[in-house]
């Protein structure tokens, strides 16, 4: 309890006074992100220009640039689909002439922000700022599984990248032969430092350093290494200790020009390495002059390609986040945060609201503000929302047509923008707050229920509050949502009123509902479009395509397919059989098999001590019911093969070979059948 009280005290102590809300707002809007306050050429939408008459031409202390922005060309709104997020930016001088909606739009004669139908036009969003991602409610096991899978995937990717990056052999590859480990069998390495250097610029630096030191032999070798590693890095060749310059030139076959240049370099280098030509300054100069253009050209091409991709993704003019535009509500959220109000946009559907939701630890409940462009609830949703409010929560309808139950509707026609507190609105001893709104929307009620909070100076109503239930729940209806926008905060005492109103409701948790709610994608294509990541995805696909043409299907360092150190036994048998068949050695095979089968048959019939085949045939026939003579024939044929030492390479005629193969196979099948009938081979 004491700790809780101390916490509350500290919170209260840190919270600025309500009277300073206007000053807080000034600090918030002073940030450059709120371009409409600082950029005289900020492109306002028609709807946002509705603030211009109340602001007037005088300088506004919180938004000094707004009066100038009112005279600037209007924004060009681009229809990008359901969300309509895009707004043309600064510097488009033509937007105010050819594309100014105020000139072409039939509604240009209406009051700013109003259509002929009387319904305010939807404010169009400039850019969309992603709401903070939240984990779905997965449950305990699901949560653990999610992170295990995610972690495993990331770990797997890291392992794959590490494997591809390294040049070691796959684990399942046959281990090196013992003599590989013999250092005497290999030429001595040039030195640990030289072995490890693969950076092209470092190699070129080494070459220049060696040349300046007069060691042209080493200089040429380093320059040559730089060339090879550049080509290797570009995926044109594959550098390996066992590959020769000829291999590299063959790799460059598809690029004859480059191949010709590299061939000239290679000839010069090999003359020094293996010929009798001494390395001198002139030869070094010749080599380096040929290498440098190749080395730099490859990188430049890639860089230019990447730069082109990056430039393509830029639209060339500044964009303005919607939430920091006059139509957005980011300043409202920041202002609320200064006063310990947790204001955020709702991300779950209104249908998920629990009618019997608890009021929380302090019995203050929660507040939901339905803004002008929020999805209009259906009858059942209205019932749910009102029941929710009856349970002690606070529902605010800002510009959204109220439910019929309230006997209230919104219409235009207020003759002024100036608002004043009613006598029924008990916000303490405030004196007169100087309030303004942009539109002329007003509330018209059919009965005397509800408590008016704000009214225009022409006595038309602007805000009415209805008490609900017996737990201090309420529904407050505003004629528009102007006071809940960034634009509304830039004028007069609007910020103070907003803070006092929200604090007066009592709830700390406040959810704003705007047009994004329930605006899910119907198709995967919509999802991609809604994310506004299409340029990024296209760039990634383009990059993948480049990598594909550059490196082939596998982007990593190519490896030989893993080789098995041992084969399956059946594969050996199959290979053996194939080999016999290729050598036409069926007679040899059947002779071996017949010997084995006769042994098994003698064992199984327990005739090992009885000489001759007849007892075996007799026993088999007696046991299996086969014809004794037929069995005897098979055994005699098998036995006769034992003395046949014929050369498998006897030149049979093709017909004789085919016939012999068929007979041999039949004999093997007969013997196998007999072995099986007497109990199998084991």
């Amino acid at each position: 309890m004491i700790a809780s009280a101390l916490f509350m005290l500290s919170v209260i102590a840190a919270e600025p006074s309500l009277e300073s809300a206007n000053e807080q707002t000034r600090k918030i809007l002073a940030h450059d992100n709120y371009g409409f306050c600082h950029n005289p050429k900020y492109p306002l939408t028609d709807n946002e220009a509705g603030w211009c008459p109340p602001v007037g031409p005088e300088e506004n202390s919180r938004c000094p640039a707004y009066p100038s922005a009112c005279d600037a060309p209007r924004a060009v709104l681009q229809d990008l689909g359901r969300l309509n997020f895009s707004r043309g930016g600064e510097g488009k001088s033509d937007v105010g002439t050819d594309q100014d909606p105020a000139k072409d739009d039939p509604s240009k004669e209406d009051k700013p922000g109003e259509t002929k139908s009387g319904k305010r036009k939807q404010p169009k969003r400039e850019t969309y700022e992603e709401p903070e991602a939240q984990m779905p409610e997965l449950g305990g096991l699901g949560y653990v599984l999610f992170w295990v899978i995610l972690g495993g995937g990331v770990l797997g990717l890291i392992i794959i990248i590490a494997r591809n990056s390294s040049s070691h052999k796959p684990e399942d590859e046959t281990p090196a032969e013992p003599q590989d480990a013999d250092p005497a069998a290999l030429p001595a390495p040039a030195g640990p430092n030289e072995q490890l250097v693969r950076d092209v610029s470092a190699l070129l630096d080494q070459a220049r350093a060696a040349a300046s030191a007069g060691d042209y032999n080493r200089a040429i070798q380093r320059a040559h290494a730089a060339l090879l590693h550049r080509l290797d890095h570009d995926g044109l060749i594959r550098v390996a200790p066992f590959r020769t310059n000829g291999d590299y030139l063959r790799d460059l076959g598809p690029q004859p020009d480059l191949r010709g240049s590299v061939r000239q370099v290679v000839r010069d280098v090999e003359q020094v390495q293996f010929g009798t030509t001494p390395a001198d300054a002139s030869l070094y100069e010749r080599v380096i002059q040929r290498i440098v253009p190749i080395v730099t050209r490859r990188g430049d091409t890639l860089l230019m390609l990447l730069a082109a991709c990056s430039l393509y993704s830029c639209d060339g003019h500044k964009s303005y986040p919607f939430d920091r535009s006059p139509s957005g509500a980011n300043a409202v959220i920041e202002l609320g945060a200064a006063y310990n109000l947790d204001i955020k946009f709702r991300t779950t559907s209104l249908t998920a609201i629990d009618r019997a939701e608890s009021l929380g630890d302090h019995d203050h409940g929660r507040t939901i503000v339905l803004l002008h462009d929020a999805p209009e609830p259906g009858a059942s949703e209205w019932d749910r929302l009102l029941d929710w409010a009856d349970n002690g929560h606070h529902l605010v309808l800002a510009g959204l047509p109220p439910p019929s139950e309230l006997n209230l509707h919104i219409e235009t026609g207020a003759t002024t923008h100036t608002l004043m507190l009613t006598a029924d609105y008990d916000l303490g001893d405030l004196g007169d707050l100087d309030l303004l709104t942009a539109d002329d929307a007003r509330l018209v009620r059919s009965d005397a229920l509800g408590r008016p909070l704000l009214r225009f100076t022409d006595d038309s109503l602007y805000a009415i509050q209805y008490d609900r239930g017996y737990r201090s729940g309420d529904v407050t209806v505003f004629a528009d949502d102007r006071l809940f926008t960034n634009g509304g905060l830039m004028l007069r005492d609007n910020p103070e009123l907003l803070v006092r109103f929200l604090k007066d409701l009592g709830a700390r948790d406040i959810e704003l509902v705007d047009g994004l709610l329930d605006l899910g994608a119907d198709t995967p294509a919509d999802t991609i479009a809604n994310t506004h990541l299409t340029p990024v995805i296209l760039q990634v696909l383009a990059l993948l395509a480049i990598l594909f043409f550059w490196r082939g299907v596998r982007f990593g360092r190519p490896h030989d397919p893993p080789t098995r150190s041992r084969r399956h036994f059946s594969e050996h048998i199959e290979a053996l059989g194939t080999h016999y068949a290729r050598a036409r050695a069926s007679r040899h095979a059947v002779r071996i098999y017949a010997g084995w089968a006769l042994e098994r048959l003698r064992e199984k019939t327990q005739s090992t001590r009885t000489p001759g085949l007849y007892p075996v045939a007799q026993a088999i026939a007696g046991r299996t019911g086969d014809d004794e003579n037929r069995v005897m024939e098979t055994l005699v044929e098998a036995s006769s093969l034992q003395g046949d030492g014929g050369d498998p390479r006897i030149a049979y005629s093709r017909k004789a070979i085919a016939s012999a193969n068929t007979d041999d196979l039949k004999l093997m099948q007969d013997l196998a059948r007999l072995v099986r009938l007497v109990g199998g081979p084991r």
Binding site: A176, N245, G275
Partner: protein, 321 residues
């Protein structure tokens, strides 16, 4: 003679032979390497790929005498080397030289003859001389044997013994030409090309036999760096310890690799050997010198597979990697 002149002559030889033998540039190059390196070449390929034509064309271009022996199971050694025949008029035996007494010898289907007949070629190939009845007779210079064998038919054949295989400098595999090459070949036939009437083609003699011997001697001037000797030794040593190889290449294999490397270097206008010469020629020089373990053969491993493994393990000297 300069390396450039040497290469120019070789290019002319290649071009001339290539006029009649389409799409076999690599084989022509390798045969020429064999000739220049004083070696003999065994060509394995099915009939009808122009092996005889190549020898005849090569003989004409090189200014050499060519003969052909069709090896059959009843071929006797004396049918190859020749023998002493009694001359009734002179009342004495006279030596009648066999077809081996030539400069270019095509031993067609050499594995059709029994071992003793094949062995008759051993001395000729190794010592470039023939001994009959105690008399040794030298063969003409240059002497080059190009033997062929058919890889498909094994019935009625006598595989060459390892000792004889080792005497071949290179073993080349000839495959069927590509469709385009075969079409060009047919187009030549349509235009009147007749392989039997080679003179009608107008092949030019590029060198004489004496020039060829001079070129063979010139190869001794081709420099071989010490690193490359290590590289050759390393490759050959690895063939002996390869797990699939029962018997690796002999020192004769190392020498052959060196000689062919020099020939290739000279043909490309260099006076020094580079690792690529050795690596490129290693399969042709070594494949017939390896005897594989039976289990490796059963598994379908070939000598070429083993050589490729060896080449992928042997470190190339002065590599940038």
């Amino acid at each position: 003679m300069t390396p450039h002149q040497f290469a120019e002559i070789c290019t002319n030889i290649r071009n001339q032979v290539g006029r009649v033998l389409l799409g076999q540039d690599e084989i022509i190059d390798n045969v020429l390497i064999g000739v220049l390196a004083r070696g003999h070449v065994l060509i394995e390929g099915v009939p009808g790929l122009g092996k005889t034509l190549m020898v005849r064309a090569l003989a004409k271009v090189l200014g050499c005498v060519a003969k052909r022996i069709q090896f059959t199971p009843d071929l006797m050694p004396s049918d190859v080397t020749g023998g002493n025949i009694y001359n009734q008029q002179k009342q004495q035996f006279e030596f009648m030289p066999g077809p081996v007494f030539t400069q270019l010898l095509l031993a067609d289907e050499i594995n059709r003859a029994p071992a003793k007949t094949q062995a008759a070629l051993l001395e000729a190939m190794a010592d470039r001389s023939v001994s009959t009845d105690g008399v040794t007779r030298p063969l003409p210079q240059p002497f080059f044997v190009m033997a062929t064998q058919n890889p498909v038919e094994s019935q009625g054949t006598y595989p060459l013994p390892e000792a004889q295989l080792d005497r071949f400098l290179m073993k080349l595999d000839v495959t069927h030409p590509s469709r385009e090459t075969e079409k060009r070949l047919l187009a030549n036939v349509v235009k009147g090309f007749d392989a039997a009437a080679l003179d009608s083609v107008g092949l030019e003699q590029v060198v004489t036999a004496e020039n060829l011997v001079f070129m063979q001697n010139y190869l001794n001037q081709i420099r071989v760096a010490d690193d490359l000797l290590d590289y050759i030794t390393d490759i050959v040593a690895r063939t002996r310890s390869h797990r699939s190889v029962y018997l690796g290449a002999s020192p004769r294999g190392s020498i052959a690799l060196l000689a062919t490397g020099r020939a290739r270097a000279a043909m490309e206008g260099r006076d020094f050997v580079i690792p690529d010469d050795i690596k490129t020629l290693a399969p042709s020089v070594l494949r017939h010198r390896l005897i594989l373990h039976p289990d490796a053969e059963f598994e379908g491993t070939s000598a070429d597979d083993c050589i490729q493994t060896v080449l992928s393990e042997a470190r190339v000297p002065k590599t940038a990697a």
